[in-house]
Symmetry: C2
Subunit: 148 residues, 2 copies
DNA sequence: CTCAGAAAGTTCACTTTTAAGACTCATAGG
DNA sequence: CCTATGAGTCTTAAAAGTGAACTTTCTGAG
C-alpha cells in the first residue's frame, strides 16, 4: 500500500493517519500546541529538513489543520495556527504523551506536567464515555459495523 | 534527526513515537485491538510487506507492547497478543478513530461505532481530567516543566 | 547607496528507508 | 512423494529524508 492510498480506506483511523500519521507531523503538532507558529521556529526546534517541513505544513494547511495567515506585510511573512479541526487533535497528542509518561519516564518523573485550568489540578488524561461519563478501557468497548 | 534518536529526547511524546509512531504500527495495533493475532492474518488484512511486518512486530515485542507466545508446537507457531502496556494504547487509537470520524466520515456516518459495554450506549471518546472528571480541551490545559 | 540580516521557503545531490514479491524452512496430511 | 500452512528471510527497486547552499523581499545601519 502506498501512503496516499490510505485516505481511501474505509477506516477512520487510516484516514486520520493519512493526514497526521507521519513521523514528523506529530512532532510539528506537539510544538504547535506549545504555541510555535513560524517556519524557522519549527525548523530550529525540531531539526527537521526545511524541505520536509515545508511539505508537511502544506499538507496540514491543505487539510485544514493549520491556517496560514500573514502576520506582517512588506515583506509578507506567514504563520501557522491551529484551526478548530487542528485543536481537535489534542486528545491524540495528550494520549501519546500520557502513554510515554507512564512507560518511559525516568525516576525524575515526566518532563512535562499538565494542569487543568478549570479545576486547578495537575492531571492525566482519562478516556471517558460520552454517554455515561465513566472511564473507558479497551476491554469495555465493543466495535459495531456502521453503514459506511 | 534519525528515528532512533527520538527515544533519547526528553519528551514523552517523542518517546512514544519512537515505539509506535510509524506508518504501519498504528494500523497493526488497530487490527490487534480487533483481535487479530497471527502473522499471516496481519499481513493479509493490511497488505503490508512481510519483511516490514516482521520487523515491526519484533520492535513491538521488544518494547513489551506485544507478547509473542506459541499457540502450538510441531511446527511451532506464534501469535502476538497485546500486553497490559499495549492495551494502554487504546486511548490513542480511539482518539485517532474519533478524529477521523468527525472530519472524514461520509454521509453514511462512520464505518465503525463503539459501544460501551458497561452502560450499553454507543459513544464517542471524550478526554477527561483525572482529577475533576470534566471534559478537557486544548485551551483548558497549561503545560508545566517537570524535573526531568 | 551598499551591505548585512531576517523570514520563509526552494533546489540539488546524495543517503537511508521502505516496500513488493519471490524464496526458504519445518511440519502435517493424504 | 506432493501439496499446503505458517512464519518468516532475501533481493532489488522505489520513495523519503538530509544538509547545505541559494532565492526573494524587505529593513535598518554605515
Amino acid at each position: 500500500m502506498k501512503w496516499n492510498e490510505l485516505s481511501n480506506e474505509n477506516c477512520s483511523l487510516a484516514r486520520s493517519l493519512a493526514v497526521i500519521g507521519d513521523r514528523w507531523t506529530l512532532l510539528i503538532l506537539r510544538d504547535a500546541f506549545l504555541r510555535v507558529r513560524r517556519f524557522d521556529d519549527f525548523q530550529e526546534r525540531l531539526g527537521i529538513a526545511r524541505r520536509v517541513l515545508a511539505e508537511r505544513l502544506a499538507v496540514l494547511v491543505e487539510h485544514g489543520v493549520f491556517e496560514k495567515t500573514a502576520y506582517q506585510e512588506r515583506p509578507t511573512r506567514y504563520e501557522y495556527r491551529l484551526t478548530k479541526k487542528g485543536l481537535g487533535l489534542y486528545p491524540i497528542i495528550l494520549s501519546l504523551v500520557h502513554w510515554g509518561d507512564e512507560h518511559y519516564a525516568g525516576r525524575k518523573g515526566p518532563p512535562v506536567y499538565h494542569r487543568h485550568k478549570t479545576c486547578g489540578h495537575r492531571f492525566r488524561s482519562v478516556m471517558c464515555c460520552s454517554e455515561c461519563g465513566e472511564a473507558v478501557g479497551a476491554k469495555d468497548v465493543m466495535a459495531e459495523a456502521g453503514k459506511a
